[in-house]
């Protein structure tokens, strides 16, 4: 007995010492183990690539682009040519030097026909990238884009080493060789992926020695893991989970308004959703304020009119979308469903609140004579088997700038055009907005696009979310910024 006590004490001591410098972050296993280390792969391993690679520009505190691998940039008056001056003396994990060649390679490969990256639709605006000298690169656009740096701020537009990737623009590059603060030690997407700090990181020595990305697909299991001290951090808590951590001195809780949203998407090419009146009727049947309160809790949401541009974005339009049951019924009758309409909605526990949102919509739509039959499917593999495959399904997006998300989720050629919406008016409008150099006029144009999505699109996006994060209180350095802007290299952890 004495022996075993001593032994367990020794083990406990040893494990504390080992984990003191290790940040343990959960990852949601959205691709069921086929997570890719290529940042532009449709199955990118977000938590890993976020720490292994760097971008040209990153979000500043004001949400505007600020320097990362590019130190500064300038454009011609027609906003068609953008010149970036690069940060000198940056090395990749394998010791290679970061140069303009790598930027040209990393930007051009996003357009590959064979990779079919979700970034393709957005980045196709690039005509060519010219290497001016080792530390200068000029990006020539096919058309004017006054906010081009916002596009390369995308969390997936990371700089890869052209040499490691064999200069091959058409193949996935899963080497993991980046310039980011952490380098890959062991990839095990189904279990624990280990990263070690990169001593030569240009931003200074990262805080924690190791990162462990632990696969936990289920939200309740993540909450339990945080409570038990098996992980240090949870990106988002649901309203009823907040009290578990709020009054506990072992944990810190942080509320951050974000552009994150959960929605229900109708495929606009499949009956009955190919009729715009049906789509609008479903949208009109919802009471967004009640829905937000029920699903996410008081003060944890900002109501929205079914477009993806969040309230913190400079281009957000003010649209009114009060609940209108009579209007919805009239539209349905016009579309030939005077006696009511029955549709199937595919949902899963993909993210906290998705199933409950479907349940509330189901209840609200009932008043307009719309019967929504819920089909629950497993969360594992939801994104590969159900999303964009069924006619009516749940979705979830993280925050993106207005132009990017409008393009990525709604332009007719985008790989992630989840409602399969084909609108020439919208495509042309988006082009016009980008070409407009006057801010106020540009804002008006972007506003029109949001109105078009509300009138005609295939989305139901009732609210944008505020995020409530929880982390162990011995963790410091997490700024109250949205997820993509968290700088893990600044996080430090005190020994227990």
């Amino acid at each position: 007995m004495k022996n075993s006590l001593f032994l367990s004490a020794a083990i406990a001591l040893a494990s504390t010492a080992a984990s003191a410098q290790t940040l343990r972050i959960p990852h949601e296993l959205g691709y069921g183990g086929s997570e890719s280390l290529d940042p532009i792969s449709p199955q990118r391993f977000y938590e890993a690539i976020q720490n292994m690679y760097s971008r040209l520009v990153r979000q500043g505190d004001d949400g505007r682009p600020s320097p990362d691998l590019a130190l500064n940039w300038e454009t011609t008056p027609d906003a068609k040519e953008w010149t970036f001056a690069l940060r000198p003396g940056v090395t990749f994990h394998n010791g290679n030097t970061f140069t303009a060649e790598d930027v040209a390679f990393s930007l051009m490969r996003t357009q590959s026909e064979t990779i079919q990256s979700p970034t393709k639709g957005v980045m196709e605006i690039i005509d060519r990238v010219e290497v001016v000298d080792d530390m200068t690169v000029k990006v020539v656009l096919k058309q004017t884009h006054a906010d081009f740096p916002l596009l390369v701020m995308d969390y997936r537009i990371k700089m890869l080493d052209a040499e490691t990737c064999g200069h091959n623009l058409d193949a996935l590059c899963e080497s993991g060789n980046g310039t980011g603060p952490y380098k890959m030690v062991e990839l095990d997407a189904l279990g624990t992926t280990t990263l070690a700090r990169f001593d030569d990181y240009y931003g200074g020595l990262p805080g924690a020695e190791n990162l462990e990305l632990i696969a936990i697909a289920d939200q309740d299991a993540r909450v339990a893991a945080l409570q038990a001290g098996q992980i240090d951090f949870i990106y988002a808590l649901s309203a009823e989970q907040v009290p578990l951590f709020a009054n506990n001195p072992n944990f810190t809780v942080q509320t951050v308004p974000t552009g994150r949203w959960i929605g229900m998407i109708m495929n606009t090419t499949v009956a009955p959703f190919d009729d715009a009146r049906v789509r609008k009727a479903i949208r009109m049947s919802a009471d967004r304020d009640v829905l937000g309160k029920l699903v996410f809790g008081e003060d944890n949401y900002i109501t929205n009119c079914d477009h993806p541009v969040w309230p913190g974005d400079q281009y957000r339009a003010d649209i009114a979308c009060e609940r209108d049951i009579e209007g919805a019924k009239a539209l349905l009758a016009e579309a030939g469903f005077a006696d009511g309409l029955t549709v199937e909605l595919f949902v899963s526990d993909i993210t906290e609140g998705a199933v409950r949102m479907a349940e509330v919509l189901q209840n609200q739509a009932k008043d307009a004579g719309i019967t929504i039959e819920m089909v629950r499917v497993p969360a594992d593999g939801f994104w590969s088997d159900v999303w964009m495959k069924e006619p009516f399904f749940a979705t979830g997006w993280s925050q993106r700038p207005a132009d990017q998300v409008l393009n990525e989720a709604y332009s007719s050629t985008s790989a992630w055009n989840e409602s399969a919406w084909q609108s020439e008016e919208f495509d042309a409008g988006l082009e016009a907005a980008r070409a407009e150099l006057d801010f106020d006029k540009r804002k008006e144009l972007y506003g029109d696009l949001q109105r078009q999505i509300w009138e005609d699109g295939g989305s139901f996006i009732p609210v944008h979310l505020k995020t409530v994060r929880a982390f162990s209180s011995n963790l410091s350095g997490i700024d109250p910024v949205e997820d993509f802007s968290i700088r893990y290299e600044n996080l430090t952890k005190e020994a227990d």
Binding site: V290, L294, R356, E359, M374, P378
Partner: protein
């Protein structure tokens, strides 16, 4: 019948079992009449209220009255599993009596097949069928019925072998009676007690299976009030709003315990020992 009930309630466990089962059946039947609220009506102004005079068991995350949901929560489970139990008992005992009477090689082969089948974890099997056929009573009832029928078969066949060895069956065979009359006139009347008890036991296990499915999201679909689903949806609240999980748990376990006690009591009253039959 009256005498059987008297024997059952003469034991405390039997009386408790019968009361719980009868109470649950009555509630399930009368729920729409006695529930104070519509179990699916959401109320944004009454979310997660603790138990009060207005809401006896409190409200859930969507502001629905938990008392009304608990009253309704057994209807689907009870009806689906009752149908499943009937199917399982009918086909399981029919096949069991035949194998127990016929015996010999055919019986041996089939029983090894049944044994192999019974060694498959039941939940995995159910999930497999549901992922192919889709959730919903039309898939779940036959699946439960078929799967649990195999277990019934195992027990009834054992009991049938004991009956088949008795003199009156030998006599019937010697008289030259065909198989069917032997099954219906000699075997079945002597096995009906075992079948009754077996059916009741399987029913209670099936209830647990159905609730497990609901818990995993493949039994009842929202917004149907169902105990397993209620527990699944509110399990994150165990430490902050325990009432949302406690009441459906209590309802489910009291029904299962009730049926179990009742089945045991019937067995004892009829002098049946399931363990002996199973061992054959």
């Amino acid at each position: 019948m009256l005498q059987l009930i008297n024997t059952i309630i003469s034991r405390p466990s039997g009386a408790i079992g019968l009361t719980l089962t009868a109470l649950h059946l009555a509630i399930a039947l009368l729920a729409p009449l006695i529930a104070p609220y519509d179990p699916t009506v959401q109320n944004a102004d009454a979310v997660l209220l603790p138990p009060s005079l207005e809401h006896w068991m409190g409200t859930d995350t969507l502001g629905r009255d938990i008392f009304s949901r608990v009253l309704h929560g057994g209807r689907l489970a009870i009806s689906v599993t009752f149908a499943g139990a009937v199917i399982a008992t009918v086909w399981g005992s029919f096949a069991g009596i035949i194998f127990g009477t016929v015996g010999g090689r055919i019986d041996e082969y089939f029983m090894r097949l049944v044994d192999a089948f019974l060694s498959v974890p039941w939940l995995l099997f159910l999930l497999l069928i549901i992922s192919i056929g889709g959730a919903g009573p039309s898939t779940i009832i036959p699946t439960l019925g078929f799967f649990y029928g195999a277990a019934v078969l195992r027990v009834i066949r054992g009991a049938a072998m004991q009956v088949a060895a008795r003199d009156f069956v030998t006599a019937a065979k010697a008289r030259g009676e065909k198989l069917w009359p032997i099954l219906t006139r000699e075997m079945f009347p002597n096995l009906s007690d075992v079948i009754l008890v077996e059916g009741a036991m399987r029913w209670s296990w099936m209830l647990l299976a159905f609730s497990s499915l609901s818990f995993l999201g493949f039994g009842a679909t929202p917004p149907t009030p169902d105990w397993g689903l209620m527990v699944a949806q509110e399990r994150g609240l165990l430490s902050t709003a325990p009432w949302a999980v406690f009441w459906p748990c209590l309802a489910l376990s009291s029904l299962i315990i009730g049926i179990n006690l009742l089945a045991d009591a019937i067995g004892k009253a009829l002098g049946i020992d399931r363990a002996t039959a199973m061992a054959m």
